[in-house]
C-alpha cells in the first residue's frame, strides 16, 4: 500500500478521501442548528464582527475580491451586484434571501436552511450593512414548511442575542428579517416574480426596467441573493477573501454546494472546490452508479440545464469549462441517470415540469411548452414523425429568444441537448423509421 503522502499537502478543511471541502458546510450535522450558543462556539458571527469593523465600501471590495458569483443560477458577480445596490439612493432598502429552491434535482439550499440557518442570516446582515438596508425577507418555499418554522426560531434568538434588531452588536446598525412562505410555484424563484409573491399576488414576472435594485419590493430598492450566496459571505470575512479565493480555479473561485442525486450510490449535498471533474464527483464522492449499473447521462443545473452523455464526464466542474461545452452550473444540481433510463421518457418528465410551471404570461413559453409536450408524448408513444424534429428546433428557438423570463428561455435546453447527444433514441420512436428498422 502506498502511503497517503497527499495528506500533508492539503489545507484546512480539505478531505483527502472524498475530495470535498468544508467551508460553508463546516457546521452541517455538527451542531444544533437552532442554538445561537453553539453557532457562536463554532466561530459564528466572527464574519459579521469583522465586516462591521470595516466601512460598507470596504465590505463590498472584499466580496469583489473573493470572486464570488451568485449561486442561485445566473452566476452574477455578487460584489458587483452589491456595489450597484449600494449606489442606489433611498431611505428604505430591502435585502431578500431567495430560498425558493424549485429547480428539480436541487436541495442544497435545504441543507443550509436545515443545518446552518444562522449563517444565512449572518450573511444577510453583512449584506444589509454593505448596501444600507434595514429590512430583510427570506422567501422559503412552501414545501420547506418545517424549515420556515425553524428559521423563525433562529431569527428570534438572533434578535434576542443582539445580532439582529435596532442596534446590532452595539453599532447602531438596524436590520430586521421576516420569513415569507412560497406557495408552490417554481417561477416564483425568479427575482421579480418572488417579489410579486411577497406582495401577495400570483407569480408572474415583472418587466424590467425598472430594475429590482431600483424598484423592487413595495417599489423600494432591493437586493436579492440566493441562500448559498449569503452563506458564503460570513466565510469570506472569517477567513479573508484571499484565502477563500484560493479554492477553485482562476475563473471559478471558491467552493460550491452540489446536489448529487439520481442513480448514484451516495446521493447528497457536498461542498466541493470548483475544478474537480464530473468523473471525480460521480465516482470519488458519489461512490459511482447504484446497483453496479452503467452511467448513461447526466443532467446538470436542474431541469433547465443540458443533458451530458457519459462519454464527456472528464469535463471539470467550473463556470468556464461548462460554458465551453454548452452546459451551465445553474443551481448546482447533478442528476445521474443509469443505462436503464430511456432518454425520451426522461425528457417527458422534464417537459411535464415546465408545462406545469409555466405561468402563462407570455405566448412563447405558454404555447411553446404545450407544443413541446405534445411532441414529446408522440416520441414516447412511438408515433412521432420526422417533421417533429424541425418543429422542436423552431419552437425551441422562439422560446429561447422570445420568452418573457428565464423559465421559458431555458425550458427547451434539455430537449435540444438530448436530441443532439442521443439522436438514435429519438429516431427509434419515429413511426416510419421504426418500420424500416
Amino acid at each position: 500500500m502506498k502511503k497517503k503522502y497527499v495528506k500533508s499537502l492539503i489545507g484546512i478543511g480539505v478531505n483527502a478521501m472524498n475530495k470535498t471541502v468544508s467551508l460553508i458546510s463546516k457546521n452541517f450535522k455538527n451542531l444544533d442548528p437552532k442554538s445561537l450558543q453553539e453557532y457562536l462556539h463554532a466561530g459564528g458571527y466572527l464574519g459579521l464582527e469583522k465586516a462591521l469593523a470595516s466601512t460598507p465600501a470596504q465590505v463590498i471590495q472584499e466580496v469583489k475580491k473573493s470572486g464570488l458569483q451568485g449561486r442561485g443560477g445566473a452566476a452574477y458577480p455578487t460584489g458587483r451586484k452589491w456595489e450597484q445596490a449600494a449606489a442606489v439612493e433611498g431611505p428604505r432598502k430591502i435585502v431578500i434571501c431567495n430560498a425558493d429552491e424549485g429547480e428539480p434535482g436541487t436541495f442544497k439550499d435545504r441543507y443550509l436552511l436545515q443545518y446552518d440557518p444562522f449563517k444565512i442570516i449572518e450573511g444577510m446582515t453583512i449584506a444589509a450593512y454593505a448596501v444600507g438596508a434595514t429590512e430583510g425577507y427570506i422567501y422559503i418555499r412552501e414545501e420547506y414548511k418545517k424549515l420556515q418554522d425553524q428559521m423563525k426560531i433562529v431569527i428570534a434568538s438572533a434578535l434576542e442575542g443582539g445580532f439582529l434588531g435596532d442596534n446590532i452588536l452595539g453599532t447602531g446598525l438596524c436590520f430586521h428579517i421576516k420569513v415569507v412562505s412560497g406557495a408552490g410555484a417554481y417561477v416564483c424563484g425568479e427575482n421579480s416574480t418572488l417579489i410579486e409573491s411577497i406582495e401577495g399576488k400570483s407569480g408572474r414576472p415583472r418587466i424590467k426596467p425598472p430594475y429590482i435594485k431600483e424598484k423592487g419590493l413595495f417599489g423600494l430598492p432591493t437586493l436579492v441573493n440566493n441562500v448559498e450566496t449569503f452563506s458564503v459571505i460570513p466565510v469570506i470575512f472569517e477567513i479573508g477573501a484571499e484565502e477563500y479565493s484560493k479554492y477553485g480555479t482562476e475563473f471559478s473561485k471558491g467552493t460550491k454546494l452540489i446536489s448529487l442525486c439520481g442513480n448514484i450510490q451516495y446521493p447528497g449535498t457536498y461542498e466541493i472546490p470548483f475544478g474537480l471533474t464530473l468523473r471525480e464527483i460521480i465516482y470519488d464522492i458519489g461512490g459511482g452508479i447504484r446497483d453496479g449499473k452503467k452511467l448513461k447521462f447526466l443532467q446538470l443545473g436542474g431541469a433547465s440545464g443540458a443533458i451530458l452523455p457519459a462519454s464527456k464526464i472528464d469535463i471539470p466542474y467550473t463556470y468556464e469549462d461548462f460554458e465551453g461545452n454548452g452546459l451551465t452550473i445553474g443551481s448546482g444540481a447533478i442528476l445521474i441517470a443509469d443505462e436503464t433510463n430511456k432518454v425520451v421518457d426522461y425528457m417527458k418528465s422534464v417537459q411535464d415540469f415546465f408545462l406545469h410551471e409555466s405561468c402563462g404570461k407570455c405566448t412563447p413559453c405558454r404555447e411553446g411548452n404545450r407544443q413541446l409536450s405534445k411532441i414529446i408524448n408522440r416520441f414516447v408513444s412511438g408515433t412521432a414523425s420526422i417533421e417533429d424534429f424541425q418543429t422542436v428546433e423552431r419552437f425551441a428557438r422562439v422560446m429561447k429568444y422570445c420568452s418573457f423570463c428565464g423559465l421559458g428561455q431555458t425550458a427547451p435546453s434539455a430537449l435540444l441537448s438530448a436530441i443532439q447527444h442521443f439522436p438514435d433514441e429519438f429516431y427509434q420512436q419515429i413511426h416510419k423509421v421504426r418500420k424500416i428498422m
Binding site: 439550499d109 418545517k146 400570483s202
Partner: protein
C-alpha cells in the same frame, strides 16, 4: 359535512391571522396559506375566500387569481391527508412509478382521486427538494423518502391507524 367546519370559531381564528398580518393586503398569500391549514380537507371554501377578500379590501377575482395560481392553495376540498408523489426528474430515474403502483393498489384509487372515506387524496407533485431520498412523497407537510413497498405500507398504516377526529 363541510358546513359544520365553517363555524364561528374558524372565522375567529382567521380574524386572528388577518390581525397578525395587520390587515395588509400584501400578505394575501400568507393569510390564505395559514387559513387553509385550519380547514379540514386542505382547501379554501368560497365563504372563506370572500371573507378574506372583504377584510383585506381585495376583489374576489384577485383572491381567486391567487388561489388558482399556486399549487399549495386549492378551491376544492381534497382529503384529510393529501399524498403528493413527486414525478420530477430525479424521482423519474428512481422509478416513482413503482411507488405509484403500490399507492394505487393499497388505497384502491387512481392518481388524482380521493378515497371514498375522504381520508386520502392521491396526487402528483413537482420536485419538493427531497431528491437525495428519492423516490419520495409528502403526506401533508411530512416528507417520506427512500420508499419501497414495505415502507409505504407501514407509513399508510400509521395514518390509517389514527382516529378520525
Amino acid at each position: 359535512m363541510m358546513e359544520t367546519t365553517l363555524d364561528k370559531d374558524l372565522f375567529d381564528k382567521i380574524d386572528g391571522i388577518i390581525h397578525a398580518y395587520e390587515h395588509d393586503r400584501h400578505n394575501l398569500v400568507q393569510i390564505l396559506l395559514q387559513a387553509q391549514d385550519l380547514i379540514p380537507r386542505h382547501y379554501i371554501p368560497m365563504e372563506v375566500a370572500t371573507y378574506i377578500g372583504e377584510q383585506l379590501g381585495v376583489p374576489l377575482s384577485k383572491v381567486y387569481d391567487v388561489i388558482s395560481f399556486y399549487s399549495a392553495l386549492s378551491d376544492r376540498p381534497k382529503a384529510q391527508h393529501v399524498i403528493q408523489l413527486c414525478k420530477s426528474t430525479t424521482c423519474r430515474v428512481n422509478k416513482y412509478q413503482t411507488v405509484r403502483d403500490v399507492l394505487e393498489r393499497e388505497l384502491d384509487i387512481k392518481m388524482g382521486e380521493i378515497t371514498s372515506d375522504g381520508k386520502f387524496a392521491l396526487e402528483y407533485s413537482a420536485c419538493f427538494g427531497a431528491c437525495d431520498i428519492s423516490p419520495a412523497f409528502r403526506i401533508d407537510t411530512e416528507v417520506f423518502g427512500n420508499l419501497n413497498e414495505e415502507k409505504i405500507r407501514q407509513i399508510l398504516d400509521r395514518y390509517r391507524g389514527e382516529c378520525n377526529e
